[in-house]
């Protein structure tokens, strides 16, 4: 359990006022529920539903395999583990950031099966068999991906918390629309927020990356010239 989960646990326990808290306490005492299938602690089990065998995972950990940036990774997770937390806490892939953890900021943006999604809002167990790409997949050794290079050249990052997500959102945008219109740009990165206010640089970065991706790798420049 991550520290944040503990924090939320306390918050909910301390909150004796709300109806949801009441029902949760009742629930914890085990008074509220009568499921058709008895719950037992432990990995996987099979239940019969509509005549078929259906696997039930959890609540304890089960082993899953995730394809992260091209390589398969085995990891044991509880069903509640998000893909973001699993990558960050168990698989040493910390590029995607956890900021809101509620699908409202984009810092955790990664590309799954070619589409940008919020990693904080995908269950790890549901990401099996899918192609997961994080910001770590972009640079080849010291050579930055044109989108990363464009962020650098346009000084499109300050504190950097939103940046890995923005870079992935921009990459997904340019994969889909190599020469994006202004509207496509705005729609393409409309799921990412930056507190430091780097949007001006990001707009420039998208233009540069779009040009560079068509021409081949961009040149590195020293950061002394004007943003214009």
């Amino acid at each position: 359990m991550s520290s944040s989960d503990e924090r939320h646990d306390h918050a909910a326990d301390a909150n004796t006022s709300g109806e949801s808290a009441v029902s949760r306490r009742k629930f914890l005492k085990g008074t509220g529920v009568a499921l058709t299938i008895p719950l037992v602690a432990g990995g996987e089990k099979i239940v019969k539903a509509a005549g078929a065998d259906v696997k039930i995972y959890g609540p304890n950990k089960t082993e899953i395999t995730l394809t992260v940036n091209g390589s398969p990774k085995k990891v044991s997770v509880e069903p509640r583990a998000t893909l973001l937390d699993t990558l960050r806490n168990d698989l040493d892939t910390t590029g995607a950031k956890r900021v809101c953890d509620r699908a409202t900021c984009g810092a955790c943006t990664m590309i799954i099966d070619g589409k940008p999604v919020y990693g904080c809002t995908v269950l790890a167990i549901e990401a099996q068999g899918r192609k997961i790409e994080t910001v770590e997949s972009l640079a080849k050794g010291d050579a930055l991906h044109p989108v990363q290079q464009a962020f650098w050249d346009n000084d499109a990052q300050q504190c950097g918390f939103c940046t890995p997500g923005f870079v992935m959102a921009c990459k997904a945008l340019l994969d889909k629309h190599p020469s994006p219109t202004e509207e496509q740009i705005e729609m393409g990165v409309g799921g990412n927020l930056c507190r430091c206010g780097t949007y001006h640089g990001i707009k420039g970065a998208i233009a540069q990356a779009s040009a560079a991706l068509k021409k081949g790798p961009a040149k590195m420049t020293r950061g002394g010239k004007s943003n214009g």
Binding site: E19, V33, A52, K55, P59, R80, D101, P116, T121, M187
Partner: protein, 325 residues
Amino acid sequence: MQNFEYASPTTKEQAVELLGKQWGETEVIAGGTDLLSLMKDFIVTPKRVVNIKNIAELRGVTINRAGGVRIGALTSLEEMIERLGKGYGALTQAAKEITSPQIRNMGTVGGDLCQRPRCWYFRAGFGLMAKNENGEPLVPNGDNRYHAILGNDGEAKFVSASSLGPGLIALAAKISVFGPKGAREIDADKFFVAPKSASDRETVLAPNEIVTAINIPSTVGVRSATYEVRQREALDWPMAAASVALKLDAAKKVTSARIALGHVAPTPWNAAEAAKFLVGKTITEDVAAEAGKIAVANAKSLSRNAYKIQLAQVAVKRAILQAAG
């Protein structure tokens, strides 16, 4: 998030058997864009989560022979925008205004209809009816700037969060539902309900029923549009919205009209009186504005949200003008 057990059935029959008979025991997960946040905030604490994404028949958009369209519940918002043509403006405009491509890729049509209210008292743990420990309601004397202006006589003061709901009502869609007793079809208009107690939900679904598809009748000759008043373009919710579907005769007179408001009531709000007013008229700015007035004639503001009456009225006017124009 409280831990849960997880099942991923491959048929709708399995899915409904795996679901509990009481709300709260189990939850369906589709795109997860709302459910995961609800679980992280302990607003719902299911013992079991049933993933419906492996049920193939819930996917896909098909145009049927009569010109209608069936949209599988698992269709992502993005896919819906890409697949639906011009005649479905009321729906596609609403979905496009969800500015985040991540949400549009992950969020499903079924999930949009079943998503829970964004009322900040509800989301802070004060329950669906937003009450303090003495059972006193918090919304009437609290910060209700985003709460309901219509249908707010009962305990439910939140607004329905679904932007597709009003569009579906305007387009006279039916919602296909599957449960232990089999399949049923529900008018979009009847699908949403204002709950009577905090343990109820905002739709007519039983705890072990799922939405399987949306069926929209032929839109031949239908002009539809949605207008949303959004303060901010980024990652946001409308403050008020209206979806309108019109049929016009050769002389540009309205022969039939349907109008539904969004984000102003505990359910998407069918503004039947306003729609009736339009029939037989030629759409002008004045006619549209009058319909807007009629749509909010029975609105009652809470202490801080009178401005939403104005916003709703303007949304109706502008949606009508867009649909007609």
